[in-house]
Symmetry: C2
C-alpha cells in the first residue's frame, strides 16, 4: 500500500478527535468531560509521536493544536 | 519521511486507545463511560478508514478488535 494510506487514516483520526473534543467541551458534564479526556489522550500521543518521527504537525492536521487548551475549562488532571 | 513513520504514529494511537478503553471500562462511572465512548469513536474510525484503504487491520494493531465489545457493559448509544 502507498505511504499516503497510513497518513490518510491518521488525518481522519485527528480530525475526528479534534471535532469530538471541541463538541464535548461545549456539552459539559461528567460524561462529556470523560470524552474530552480521552480525545486529549489520543491527540497528545499523536502529537508527541509525530514529533519523535519528525513529521510536521500540519501533515496530519495538528497544526496550531494546543492540547492544554482542551482542558482549559476544567482540568481533569490534578497533581 | 518514510512510510513507516505514519504507520508507527497510527500504531501508537491505536495501542493507547485500546488500553485506555479497556481501563475506562473497568473503572465504571459517567466520566469513564465518556472516555470509553471517545476511544470507541477513534477506534472505529481507524478501523473503517483502514478498510477503505485496504490496510490489513493487523498492520495497525487492530486485529481481533471488536468495537461493539467495548460497549458491551452498557451502551451509551441508544436509538
Amino acid at each position: 500500500m502507498a505511504q499516503a494510506d497510513f497518513k490518510v487514516v491518521l488525518q481522519e483520526i485527528v480530525h475526528a478527535a479534534r471535532d469530538g473534543a471541541a463538541e464535548a467541551n461545549r456539552e459539559g458534564g461528567s460524561f462529556s468531560s470523560g470524552k474530552v479526556m480521552a480525545y486529549y489522550d489520543v491527540l497528545t500521543i499523536a502529537m508527541e509521536q509525530a514529533e519523535v518521527m519528525n513529521i510536521p504537525l500540519d501533515e496530519i492536521g495538528l497544526e496550531g493544536f494546543d492540547p492544554d487548551g482542551l482542558l482549559g475549562r476544567e482540568s481533569p488532571i490534578s497533581g
